[in-house]
């Protein structure tokens, strides 16, 4: 009797023990809810983020140096939002000009948009950051060393701006046609600061053309580069080249524009086109606009929207992250689990299908070689790289996978396990150089070597759910 009882308990525990994902899996298919015609409906909203007026709390410029207060504002950061639906319930995609947002901030935005969701039938809110390195610190990592660099008033203004932009987008929705096109930018425009040299040089465009041609359209650009053309000496707040690009697109086409970062880990940035950094930013933006306006291979995106979203648990091996979480600086969710620190980071991922295109919405900065089957470095021979994400998508029938980074969280760099090297005595606190002199900086800002595998497994799980 006792043996049987314990065997049953054991079976139940085994059944539920493997569930790192899935307990909160959300799947939505427009086809399950469509009552009328399948037709794209989109709306756009934008709201600038006000700078703090209370001088009692400093605010720091994010991206490079600790404790750098800003010298002024070149152009204000903003939140942009797009509503999209294919004839049934919709989703909101909110893009914020900032370095990154933790899941805590994203969930605060979602919570405040709950009434709007109930009113409009919005089923998902995804919030990404442009990874702007000339913006106010929104993660807390760029204050004085080990001091939270976030400014409470700015964070409140940011959240309000995101909510306002989303509300406008929901209110402005109209029907139209969605197109996808791309162009290859000159690979010399991009720089991968770490070997091997793997990056996506394409500029991808989703263009929404309203049925009412008097209304402005919406253009969404996806490009795999860090928004840091102003580089590390800059102390002025700016949207960097994404802002230049979006402003010029609007000026030249009348359409609203948004910029989304792609697979930028490793570290992919634009090349310096001019030594005067403000001109460098303008030139980079203008060049990308020229590329954008040259796109001539657009195809219609069928009116179909579906997605699968799930949480995932990533072993938190980075003791530095653990300490920042302990101090209350990092807002990511952590809970006890199997890892070097005894904790796992809880994050989330979404597989979003528009037409027959698949987008992986990833909560960090993934190395491009983990997405496309390119070269890997092998400075950690014990590390086993997961199946490239594009191959996982292809195995599920998707010819093309597009990756949007820094969505709904920021877990840092997602590094190939085969190239994952940390300092033997002070892992994650100090960088290490490998035998070729390559600086393994990204590892110090990553969750751990198992992150890449969790991301790949989660995508597999999400795409299985959509089949």
């Amino acid at each position: 009797m006792n043996k049987k009882f314990f065997a049953i308990i054991l079976c139940v525990l085994i059944l539920f023990s493997g569930c790192q994902q899935g307990s909160d899996l959300q799947v939505y298919r427009t086809t399950d809810h469509l009552e009328g015609e399948a037709k794209w409906t989109m709306g756009f909203g934008r709201q600038e983020i006000a700078m703090p007026t209370d001088d009692s709390q400093p605010y720091y410029i994010a991206g490079y140096n600790s404790g750098w207060e800003t010298d002024g504002v070149m152009d204000l950061q903003a939140a942009q939002a797009v509503w999209m639906d294919a004839g049934a319930d919709g989703i909101l995609l909110i893009g914020v000009d900032c370095i990154a947002l933790s899941s805590t901030t994203v969930n605060e935005i979602r919570q405040r948009l709950q009434p709007l969701c109930e009113e409009t039938g919005c089923t998902a809110i995804n919030v990404y950051s442009t990874h702007d390195h000339a913006s106010v610190d929104t993660l807390g990592l760029w204050g004085p060393t080990l001091i939270d660099g976030k400014n409470d008033e700015f964070m409140e203004n940011l959240i309000n701006a995101a909510v306002d932009a989303a509300t406008q987008a929901a209110a402005n929705r109209i029907t139209g046609t969605l197109y996808y096109g791309f162009t290859e930018t000159d690979p010399a425009m991009l720089r991968d600061s770490r070997d091997p040299q793997v990056f996506d040089a394409k500029l991808h465009q989703l263009r929404f053309e309203p049925d009412d041609t008097a209304e402005p359209g919406i253009r969404m650009y996806l490009y795999g580069a860090h928004a840091e053309s102003l580089r590390g000496d800059n102390r002025l707040i700016s949207r960097d080249f994404p802002g230049v690009m979006c402003d010029l697109i609007q000026e030249q086409t009348g359409d609203h524009a948004m910029f989304m970062p792609g697979a930028i880990g490793g570290l992919i940035m634009t090349q310096v086109l001019d030594d005067y950094m403000i001109k460098n930013m303008m030139d980079t933006g203008r060049k990308l606009v020229d590329y954008a306006l040259s796109i001539d291979n657009e195809v219609v995106v069928e009116a179909n929207l579906q997605y699968a979203a799930s949480s995932m648990e990533i072993p938190l091996d980075n003791t530095g992250f653990l300490f920042y979480k302990f101090l209350g600086i990092l807002g990511n969710e952590a809970k006890p689990g199997d890892s070097a620190t005894g904790y796992v980071l809880v994050s989330e991922m979404t597989a979003l299908q528009l037409g027959d295109m698949m987008f992986a919405l990833i909560p960090g900065e993934i190395f491009p070689e983990l997405v496309w089957d390119g070269e890997y470095a092998y400075h950690n021979p014990e590390g086993v790289n997961p199946t490239p994400l594009a191959e996982i998508a292809a195995n599920h029938g998707y010819d093309q996978l597009l990756v949007v980074g820094l969505v709904n969280d920021e877990i840092g760099y997602i590094v190939p396990p085969s190239d994952f090297l940390v300092h033997p005595d002070t892992p994650y606190l100090e960088r290490i150089e490998d035998e070729t002199g390559e600086n393994h900086y990204e590892e110090t800002n990553s969750v751990g070597p198992k992150c890449a595998t969790v991301i790949a497994d989660t995508l597999e799980y999400l795409l299985d759910a959509l089949q």
């Binding site: 080990l146 300490f323 209350g328």
Partner: protein
């Protein structure tokens, strides 16, 4: 003549309550004022001052169980001085255990302590 169980239990109640309360208060006050413990002029004071607003989750069950055990032991003491000495030892042990297992912003204090010691050992902090 053996002491009746009911008498043991009743004499344990007061020390248990006192031990439990002191442990909870000491742990909370210590964590939230760690920067003062280190010295306000310390270079780490500003860093640990951030814990003043931390979310604390104390190991209530563990503290309660240990408080009851020590409460029973103290309750059995027939003389005051041994009871006080035992009480003092109990407070210290309970405080250390409580601190080690307290979650500060979801992270166990004991794990962070190990991390800090390692960082100090290698001169990173």
């Amino acid at each position: 003549m053996p002491i009746p169980v009911s008498k043991r239990l009743s004499s344990a109640i007061l020390p248990t309550v006192i031990l439990f309360t002191i442990t909870i208060l000491l742990t909370s006050i210590f964590v939230r004022n760690l920067h003062l413990v280190m010295g306000q002029d310390s270079e780490y004071a500003a860093i640990f001052a951030q814990l003043q607003d931390a979310e604390l989750a104390l190991p209530i069950i563990q503290i309660l169980v240990l408080s009851v055990l020590f409460g029973l032991l103290i309750g059995c003491c027939k003389k005051t001085i041994p009871a006080l000495l035992l009480g003092l030892a109990a407070v210290i042990i309970l405080f250390v255990v409580s601190l080690w297992f307290t979650n500060v912003n979801s992270i166990r204090f004991g794990i962070v302590l190990q991390f800090l010691l390692n960082a100090l050992r290698y001169g990173v902090l």
